[in-house]
Subunit: 83 residues, 2 copies
């Protein structure tokens, strides 16, 4: 069993409306020092395979096909055995 | 300036409908080895302060007041200077 932890973030050039909304809320709660907020996703995927290379290949394919939008997002991931 | 990277995850005892939906989609794309999927948030907050202790205190307060729901979510964070 392998566990992939995939981090998906908007590219820095892309506007983050969700982040802006959270920033506004934090300001209204009195957190004036907040300069900027960016929101991303952490996707944990457990794979029933004993082969690290196969797991790595599948994670890349999942990211490109479904989990990350290459036009507006960047992704990276860590792979752990037996998690 | 400090940058906090806050990771918010559903508690393991809490059902993750979003993760289940992604799991179903991955299966329909042919990724049969996927056993489980859990989705979390990564919130990056830039703070205009030069004081690490003050930054840490604010991040804790932000998490408890807005960014994480203590009933169903866990959070942890890393703090970097000058990011």
């Amino acid at each position: 069993m392998y566990k992939a932890t995939i981090n998906v973030q908007l590219k820095s050039s892309v506007l983050d409306p969700q982040g802006s909304a959270v920033k506004g809320s934090l300001h209204s709660l009195g957190f004036e020092e907040v300069e900027n907020v960016r929101i991303g996703k952490t996707i944990q995927v457990w794979l029933d395979t004993g082969d690290a290379a196969a797991a790595r290949k599948q994670v890349e394919e999942m990211c490109q096909k479904l989990l990350a939008n290459p036009v507006i997002e960047n992704y990276d991931y860590q792979l752990e055995e037996g998690a």
